[in-house]
């Protein structure tokens, strides 16, 4: 497929909760597009509207106005049938922040992944089992992990399972909502490497929601800085992180700890 057609296109997206006078506008006039196999990072502090954009893309809630296209199809409104939901699910998947609550504690890992394979592919029985093993291998887990429940897994391993479930649909886009934020540093690096590797192998695109600019540097091609629901700055990774034009972006960068950083150096910006 040609790359000039974006897999995600968001135009003038608005999400408002409550009435026009007394309500709260969580997302205000957000537009961006994402090409095949690219990664766009949505960054910002709490309340910036990052996750709201993610849930609208996923189809968990409808937009108030504006257009949201995934693979050329409008999804600013909710899917009205299970068939449409499944169809949308096979194009775009989500990996949530907390791997301790996103998996069914009583379901074995193999069954959890098989369920996702069954929903999104015509594979049955033996072929499905083989696909589960392939997916476990793709995310760096061993076949024996299929027989355990989430209890037996660490946070990083659970997040690998969540990624395997997302990959089961062979989606064109995965929304990763703070997917590495709850992990230990030494484990976070493993998952970031895995995500970069999977993207190179499958050509999947990522919408990567995070507040951590160090993580953004490692994974994103493009960056959108959000604040109070509005886009503050938007551009390529280098434009936004290396020569930010907005004071707010500069403040975010200056506040990020790194070698030689002190809390006082954040105040200079």
């Amino acid at each position: 497929m040609s790359t000039d057609r974006p897999v995600v296109r968001v135009e003038h997206l608005v999400k408002r909760y409550g009435s026009v006078e007394h309500g709260h506008t969580a997302v205000n006039d957000v537009s961006f597009s994402l090409g095949e196999g690219r990664t766009i990072a949505l960054v910002g502090e709490s309340g910036a509207g990052k996750s709201t954009v993610g849930t609208i893309l996923t189809g968990l809630q409808a937009a108030t106005s504006g257009r949201v296209e995934v693979c050329g199809e409008d999804r600013s409104r909710l899917a009205h049938s299970a068939r449409l939901r499944r169809h949308r699910g096979s194009q775009l998947q989500i990996v949530a922040q907390d791997p301790f609550t996103s998996l069914d504690p009583r379901q074995r890992i193999g069954a959890a992944i098989a369920e996702a394979v069954g929903l999104h592919t015509p594979l049955r029985q033996q072929a499905r089992r083989e696909r589960v093993l392939e997916l476990l291998d793709a995310v760096g887990l061993s076949p024996t992990h299929a027989d355990v429940t989430p209890r037996a897994l660490s946070g990083g391993q659970r997040q690998r399972v969540a990624i395997a479930r997302a990959l089961a649909a062979q989606p064109r886009v995965i929304v990763l909502d703070e997917a590495v934020s709850a992990l230990d540093v030494s484990v976070q690096a493993q998952i970031l490497n895995l995500l970069n590797d999977l993207r190179a192998r499958t050509g999947v695109a990522y919408v990567f929601i995070t507040h951590d600019l160090g993580v953004v540097r490692q994974i994103a091609d493009e960056v959108i800085v959000l604040r109070h629901g509005r886009i503050v700055e938007q551009g390529t990774l280098e434009e936004v992180l290396d020569s930010p034009s907005e004071p707010y972006t500069r403040r975010l960068i200056a506040s990020t700890p790194r070698p030689g950083w002190t809390p006082a150096s954040a105040e200079v910006a």
Partner: protein
Amino acid sequence: MSPASSTRVGAGAAGDVGAPGAPSSPLLQVRDLNLDLGDHGVPILRDVELTLDPGEALGVVGESGSGKSMTLKCIARLTPPRAIVRGEVLVDGVDVNRLRGKSLRRYRQSQVGYVFQDPRAAINPMHTIGTFLLEAARDRGEDVTAAREQATSILASMGITDPERRMRQYPFEFSGGLLQRVMIASVLMAQPRLLLADEPTTALDVTTQAEVLALTDRLRRDRGLAMIFVTHDLDLAMAVCRRIVVLYAGRVLEVADAGTLQTAPVHPYTRGLLASRPPLETKLPQIPVVPGTPVSAAQAGPGCPFATRCPVRLPQCAEQRPPLLLQGRSRVSCHRAEEIAAGALDGVLPLTHRPAQGGGTGA
């Protein structure tokens, strides 16, 4: 800040502030601290030792299960029920574990201040900020009017505008960063000499985190308030603390000055931890990783707890626990510390992709 408070606290510690290596007696000494929890005695901490001088900031860094929060709880005597604590926690030479009844209450009220990770979970949402701040003074039967004045001036000194109005408000009317300042203010009300901060900024946004840390740093310098800063973020700890203790599976693996740790970390775990933090400045083709996942003290074997994940382990590492010994300017628990310090294992260990800048750290 009331004049009375500043003189009292200032006089006690002013001489020690910013004078590293001063031969003053330490404010806090933790020796051979061991902690087991629950009916079956699950090991949490093993042989932990720490020293803290008055006015010093000490970082305790570790991943989940390392025992960093439990170390703080032992110091504050806030261990959960059925905890078995062995070893000494000496504050001004007094063993905290021997305190009972009224003296324990006084210790918790006025000698140590505890700042929790999530201010919204630690402050009663049903009471006003004023009630929360004055609770301890009321409990001690002190003059509430004076305490109210003190609270107002502390809030004002922390950059909170219109403190009288703020004191009449409820926690839900505060942002996370403001509420964390309120928690720190409540600690300062008692004028402790030791601040125990358990991931105090993890629940905050980055810009707020920088503001709160700048505030605690100023308090340390102005009031001689010593601090133990518990965090999973080694970069953050090095930015605000003079010395760092690296914990893993309930044990101390390395202790060093922030500057030493940054330029010449020794323990393979410290090296791995530093290398695996995604750097802000450079995109790496592959982020160096520590294989596997962190273990807890209960899962660790008889030898070095990091042996199962260590890229340079020897057969003896799984069997014999290396003692914590001086290696250069660090104290390290590793059988290969000498080789690592000499650079002999640089080919195998993750190199810290630190930019070679001369900028020292604060504190």
